[in-house]
Amino acid sequence: MTNSNSLRLWLSCLSLLVYSSFAHASPDDEVRDRIDDFHATLISVMQTNSNFENRFSKLSPVIKKIFDAPNISRISTGKFWRAQEAHSQQEFTNLMFTLITATYADRFVSYNNQVFTIQAVESKGKDRWLVNCLLTKSDGETVTLDYYLREGVIFNVVANGVSDLSLKRADYASILARDGFDGLIAHINQNILEYRQQGMD
């Protein structure tokens, strides 16, 4: 066997090994990696200690990839969602992406040795996952963070037992009953504007 042939054989074996290691990455690991990446982005955003707009633009692509804004929009607006045309639903979904990004940009401002730890990844069947995490602050205070995923994307975050999606649904229900769907959009736009203005202070 020539040197070039043995090198080719060795490279083939190596690529087979690399391929098989990826092929055998369990769905648990994939979900874990997604949440790990998200946490790494949050830490990196805090470490840069930049202004609101910079944090927003750094978070935006990650939020788009990992949050299920269409379902968050649908669930949080309930029966009003079904009454909307497709283009209105799409506009609202885009607004929801912006709101989620602005919320994270507002909350994760500066790094103070916060640590995210994934404690458990649990399959709930039908491509549903629950990821239990812990956020430990520098003073030792902890916040439990439970991520609920469906088809690989987060539709709900439960912090210390309080579900973000349930809060949205309760919060929006009274606005929808009082001001309708357009009223809700106006309120959310105002909310995003306030995040931006606070970020400039």
Binding site: L130, G161, V162
Partner: protein, 239 residues
């Protein structure tokens, strides 16, 4: 006369049961109109007095001292938590709280330093409302009450015991008006972050607070492990 009294008691008891949610731990707010008025008044007072005082307190008092003051009041209230741990049949939780009281009162100099916390003995956060829930009182109606804030028919007596009566009973006459004021301001300062998040996020802060309150109570009643059976079903009924 006796018949009238019995009838009156029955009417009151039945009205207390009326409009309760079918589902355990679910949000129920038949008194929403009155609660919203109470909420608006308390918010006005909070914005005018309590919040500015709490902000001033966090700016003037150094953080370690703030933490020490909050620790002292928490140490006092841990007695209430320990008793309720026992009432709920949780000897481990009650033991943890009792160990906290002993360690923090002695080595922690009256509770200023949370020595027990550093040793991994965390405050168990039990109260009489949770005790009633553990005993089977799982459906209740929302109340927004002065001083206490968000509460419920079930949780209100426990909240009054915890916030108002317990320190007076434990500390006695030393817990005077000024110490009570310091306690209230310190408590409000501890909650500034939460109310800031609510004010930044909520479109209807009243509904937001009510929903968060019921969820948080369920979380505490189940010691941080509430049944999660219904999260997926609740949101994806069609799957």
């Amino acid at each position: 006369m006796t018949f009238r009294r019995v009838s009156l008691i029955l009417v009151v008891a039945l009205s207390a049961c009326a409009q309760l949610p079918e589902k355990e731990y679910a949000v129920s707010d038949p008194l929403e109109k009155g609660n919203r008025i109470s909420y608006d008044i308390i918010e006005l007072v909070d914005k005018a007095i309590a919040r500015p005082l709490a902000i001033g307190y966090t700016r003037i008092i150094p953080t370690p001292l703030q933490k020490g003051i909050a620790n002292v009041f928490l140490n006092i209230r841990t007695v209430d938590s320990a008793i309720n741990g026992l009432l709920q049949g949780k000897p481990k939780a009650a033991g943890t709280d009792i160990a906290r009281i002993l360690l923090n009162t002695t080595l922690g100099i009256g509770g200023i330093f949370d020595i027990a916390g550093r040793m991994g003995l965390k405050y168990q956060e039990e109260d009489f409302g949770q005790t009633l829930a553990v005993w089977g009182y799982t459906r209740t109606r929302y109340l927004y009450f002065p001083i206490v804030g968000p509460s419920s028919v079930r949780d209100l007596p426990g909240a009054i015991i915890n916030r108002v009566l317990a320190p007076r009973l434990i500390v006695g006459n030393h817990y005077d008006f000024w110490i009570g004021t310091l306690d209230t301001v310190s408590y409000r300062a501890e909650n500034l972050a939460e109310t800031n998040i609510r004010d930044a996020s909520a479109l209807d802060p009243y509904s937001f607070t009510r929903e968060a309150y019921f969820q948080r109570r369920k979380f505490l009643i189940f010691d941080g492990n509430p049944p999660e059976e219904d999260i997926f079903e609740e949101f994806f009924e069609d799957d």
